[in-house]
Symmetry: D2
Subunit: 481 residues, 4 copies
């Protein structure tokens, strides 16, 4: 069967030896380092959910290539219903993990690759689509974790790739009979070091003359010349130094872990190259990826996170003895409104989706709606954080360590004074869980993931039918030339 178990994934990942650095030090064993282990545990949990009979419809699909059951994480949407189920998968994973579903980012690139390689082949007689399908079939049959990376470091943002150090954007440095050699780097690559494969898409819409940058390909984990440099922040250090991981906010699955992937003359065989030089298709690649990504990661994924935050906030209100206070209920309702708005937009994006390009069989969400989903989530998530922090109270940033509960000199004090309408050990657990949401990486992470608001604003303005709206107003106002 093409769907693999959690254990099969764990076995596979235990053999990976990527050149990875975190906090200035080499990570020798992904399964041992507390930060990388959280990525593996989260990914493994997704495998587990996929085989959980309660979630079959959400987590599994059928391959359009083989007709076999596959993980939905490797599926190409064939219908609006597929888009809608994909959204359910994102929400469910978020509810269960409270962090990134590390199979998402690659998955969101697959439809863009399927559609755009089909289109290039159709227009130009290339063989990108065949290569892509071969890769996809391989990934589906082995149920691989496919990561994806798109954002280049960019250097000076006022300059194009060729106006500064050429490596600021991933590009071809050499073409050989058997493949290409690429250099550059990608930022914010989520979970890449624990994935089987990493897809690379262009991070900029290329112009004529920038052919070397019009690139799409896939590399296996730890390919020669690839270095991964992991993010590092107070939460990394907390996980790295904490002797008892049970006292961490999200104890098992932690934060979304990303890395900088450096490509230092990495060889990619032609069979794994899905675009090379066709600058006129880079915009399509990006747009199709972006609208899929913004429906799921930008919208539905964060709905699952907000479900968790709302649940924890309501618990905290109850633990404080205030289950039914009017202003708290108003604030909880506002959180629900923000959450449901994100869900509405993602849902509309799925139901208004359509085949694109016509004939390709690939379904894409509606572009306006997926951008709206992301845009509303950007601000909504910050407001949900603020409201959760409002109800949780100052203790969500001033709480002592739960380890005081094991400290004979302080435990009685902490048991008493951190308790309220619920005992201290429960209340401290929820406070710490909320701290993880309201006083950490999630505000910026949510806002920036799949692009900041200005990106969506630009899309909205560009694709809006302003001319049509002008005509309606003129007609009704009775404006004549």
């Amino acid at each position: 069967m093409a769907i693999k178990s959690e254990q099969e994934y764990r076995d596979r990942v235990s053999k990976l030896r990527p050149k990875l650095f975190i906090g200035g030090k080499r990570v020798e064993d992904l399964t041992k380092h507390p930060v990388t282990r959280s990525v593996i545990d989260a990914t493994a949990r997704v495998y587990e959910l996929t085989l959980d009979p309660r979630y079959t419809d959400t987590m599994q699909s059928v391959s359009h290539l083989t007709g076999e059951p596959i993980s939905r994480a490797l599926h190409i949407h064939q219908s609006r219903d597929d888009l809608h189920k994909r959204l359910d998968m994102a929400r469910l994973s978020s509810q269960k993990l409270g962090t990134c579903n590390y199979r998402c980012p690659g998955n969101e690139m697959l439809p863009s690759l399927a559609a755009t390689t089909w289109e290039i082949d159709h227009d130009k007689g290339t063989e990108y689509h065949r290569r892509f399908n071969a890769f996809l079939k391989y990934a589906q049959e082995n149920d691989l974790v496919v990561s994806g990376s798109v954002t280049d470091p960019k250097g000076d943002r006022s300059k194009r790739p060729l106006e500064q150090d050429p490596d600021y954007y991933v590009h071809v440095v050499e073409k050989r009979p058997d493949g290409i050699v690429v250099s550059g780097a990608k930022q914010h690559a989520t979970g890449a070091y624990a994935a089987d494969e990493t897809l690379v898409l262009p991070g900029i819409s290329c112009r004529k003359g920038e052919e070397d940058y019009a690139l799409a390909f896939v590399i296996p984990n730890g390919a020669e010349g690839v270095t991964y440099i992991g993010q590092y922040n107070p939460f990394s250090m907390e996980r790295e130094c904490e002797s008892d991981l049970r006292v961490i906010g999200n104890p098992v699955y932690g934060q979304r872990e990303t890395c900088l992937i450096v490509f230092d003359r990495v060889f990619v065989p032609w069979e794994r190259v899905f675009m090379c030089g066709e600058v006129e298709y880079t915009q399509s690649f990006i747009t199709r990826f972006a609208k899929t990504h913004r429906m799921n990661c930008g919208g539905a994924c964060k709905v699952g996170f907000m479900d968790l935050i709302i649940g924890a906030t309501q618990l905290m209100a109850e633990y404080n003895g205030l289950p039914n206070v009017s202003h708290i209920a108003q604030k909880i309702t506002r959180m629900l409104q923000l959450n449901d708005t994100s869900l509405a937009c993602a849902t509309a994006a799925a139901f208004m989706g359509k085949e694109e390009p016509a004939g390709s069989g690939v379904f894409m969400p509606d572009e306006t709606m997926s951008n709206i989903a992301k845009l509303n989530t950007n601000d909504g998530f910050w407001e949900v954080m603020a409201l959760a922090g409002d109800i949780a109270g100052g203790v969500s940033v001033t709480m002592p360590s739960e380890k005081e509960l094991d400290n004979p000199e302080t435990r009685d004090y902490v048991m008493k004074y951190l308790g309220a309408a619920a005992p201290a050990h429960k209340r401290m657990r929820i406070i710490k869980f909320l701290q993880n949401w309201v006083a950490g990486l999630h505000g910026v992470g949510t806002y920036q993931g799949s692009g900041p608001s200005q990106n969506q604003m630009m899309v909205l303005y560009r694709i809006a039918d302003l001319e049509g709206k002008k005509r309606m107003a003129e007609e009704l106002a009775n404006v004549h030339a």
Copy 2:
């Protein structure tokens, strides 16, 4: 054919003689008074759109009672697709009228009546559903305008119906063998005096002991004992006193016109009574009406209005010579975001709709999503108004009359000084059109139509699965009793 022409409607309405007062005076002829004529013209335009081949799919449907083509305004939703097309009808009408589609309010009551009468009969062996279907068939076959009214005057809001003057809520004052006699009043009844029939639903969820208030029925226009008292405001006076209606903001279709309907011992034959005394079903009546109403009137209708405002605002920017200024584009984009958010929520409400009650064949929109549609529109519409007024400039409230263009002493001055990158006559027309939106009744009208935000907030809180969210948070945070 069951679908009637605009002219057939005009002929029918010209014979109506409701007892109607506007501005303290009796209106003798609906077709002559400038205010009531705007209601007739708007309604007639909806008939015209219904027979326009470009809009057949949106404006027409097929009767589930007769299998004949009918106006969608008299259709009972049989599927999610029906819900989605209903939403398109609301948006299209708003784009074409810039005011109320006067066939909407009644239409939004029909599914609630169909579902709830079916349910009462099913539970209690009554014959309300048969009566309702007979009425509906009659309305469909004659393509009638069916108005609806729900909001009682309520008097002192801290008191129940029986704690104050009994007439503050519509109620039965006498039961006879052939029918009932009702008294009370309904506020905000949109276009009722120019409709063929008016449906009356309970405006409050009744409790045991309030059986006389648990009432649903329909009356023909101008029934004995009915008095209509029209709204009156500066826009009424403008329309009433203006010699040249072309200089009014929405020249033909005007404002949404409502009235207070007074029922002073009005007789209703049993065949037209659809509930009488079943207090336990009043909440269902209201909830089903509200969720349909909030998807359409609360959501999609206002999307059409915002389309017009955005179009006019973009025209104004261009007329001012500023088609591409960065901060204006940002503001237009924000308007698009707000508009598309309302559309997303209404769309999700349709696509997440379901049959209710099971077996009735009636489809209802998703309650969370329809309430979210309305809730986002409430605040969004005010913000759209403010942004339009920002870009339109102070002239949108300080502009002289367009009649100065016919005044030999001022016309040259006005032609020059009100012109910009477009000639004065075009620019003044759009300014006046925008004035109608940004400096008039629409802010409050939109906010209050289908209920103020607090109503939707209460629904959201009541139906939210807070327990489910709490369990998810506990599981992930590892909270144990």
Copy 3:
């Protein structure tokens, strides 16, 4: 005594015969036309308040030219305390009038004229300041109403004055030995036709080559060549056509009435010219006017309006029988917050004010704070409107005419159904009063008066000490080159 009575003003204004058109028709007698009479009544009320012993400290000051008591409306701020009292005057007038204090706009130009004419004379040896002081003494001694106008029609906003019809901005068309001849127009001139004098300031920061546009002067009411074209909107028509003005929202004082002033070769003697050609001072003229205007009209004046709206909204809640409902109290509190924020900013602008230019004796409010006052009021006022409309309910746009209370066929119905916890006649009065605020000209009027937000944003960005803030961050973050 230099302070005149209401009656003296009324006598004076009754002799004015400006060439004024409203709604396409000549206004023959300012004291008879219902629109212009509202301007006179409001202005007269300000005279009355000035002599009311309860308000002496707020409404009167002492002339720095003569040492005599004068109306504060003609005073040049000599201290921070003067700035603060000026702000009190604006708030008090707004509370009493519910519309423009028509002595404000001119008053807000006087300090700018005093300061900038002093500066030009100081730098260039001109005699503008002497002329200005002579005019000011004359105005103070006769307690004149001095209006002011600044906004040119501007035509195509992407073009400078000399790139299009030269009349889009007021300019000199001829210089004579005895004075200058000017042409052009000014928009949004508040109450100018009922004022004794009108000050004209440049509406654009002029560049070299635009000397003809660098102009400041004063003209008496109805000067030869001046035409006034009044604004016209539904509220104008309501006032013009309503037989019983008691049923209007703001019965006596009405809306802020503005006009387009057309200057068609108007002669201005040199003694009344306060700048002519000094392009390098136009920015100072505008900036000094703007910061004074934004503290008062942008800030404090609207605080008085919001006081009225909050009071009426609280009354409406009580009339509805809901004096203490939690969500209403939250909304009232939010209205208070917005109102107090505007007051705080205006107050800070006064207390942080300083003499400018040094040596001139003229005090100016702090520029950042006066711009912040206006900026917060812009959005705050719209939100206050929306909240008032929320609590007032749909009846604030659907209410029948109060004239129905005199209609024997409807009065009993209206008395009953428009009543609640207060009788109908009181409740309808407050509803109509609120309608005037929430469904009319005030949103845009407040936003645009003294310039839209983008203007204040540009000022804030320009004058902010970003370099200082960068240095602080670098120091603390320990950033080294």
Copy 4:
């Protein structure tokens, strides 16, 4: 001289041995533990600023008890000017520390103690004020760090102190001839373990019967029976575990460090008791403290923080090569608006302050304005964080450790790819500095410090002159009984 040097403070604090636990372990030496050392370094910096001649006017004052120069941190406001300078001190400290000025919290209690002890003595002939002045003179003469604590753990918030475990609020457990014995705890006590003295005020407005809770007193650091339990979070761990503190966001001064102070039968001699049993004065104690605290900590302190955030954000835009992009300038301007609004409100609070109670000589800020300052800052700060995170980009949460710059295997990659229009080492420093603001404790900390919004909303509503506003509206609307 009464003003002590940084070194004198360091010497003093090095001798303190409070019973303090952080992260489950006893802290043996405050000067060695990285977390407590940051508190000492920040406090020492305040001493340094106090003696810096550039800041004399802001940081120093003159004792009203001795006439000697003292630190403003120990001054009782004697005028509006004192209030205004106090606000400057808060802003300056924040700009220099980027964390708590640990002399603030106690300072904000001193005026409340001065005013209320004066009032109790005046009303009841007690000797609290004499005792307080004696303590104050001692503190001034030795230039002590006086901390303050007010928030009790509260337990079940729906219950009063006597309805649950009596220790949830600090209270008298025994009265002796020489003093009182107290038990209970205080949360969120900022920097208390490194202060010389800690003031304790009631955290709840007491009612009759709750006399044991109506308590104000002061204890020296490490008094017998006192246990301090420090806050613990990812930032604590980062500081504790990081070998190179230069790579931390706020390298020297860190986060605001608070603790839970447990009072387990602590003896307080009568001379240090400033209220004991006078329940009717607890509300005054709290209100006076709150309004002082909300002007400074709620308002001005956060203005200094926002200055830093805005400066760092502008640097980041420049480092990215985008110094003048329109949408970034709009966002920076919005940040300025929010910051200046907080400053305006705090400034108005100072300038509208007055002596309270009359005769006491103590000046208090205006209550409305100080609450408005805090209320606007609550939401404003979150928005500033979000905007900073928007401009800083995803790298503000995904950046690798700066220690990679010392890692030979990654340094060249990081030097290249983290660089842009500025070199990587500068850019990473500012990114990390921003991370500290946008992805950490500051959102909740700012919101909750000096009480969450609901507290200020309740004050605003309670003290607003709604009756006055109602009368204005009635008068103008012409409402008669």
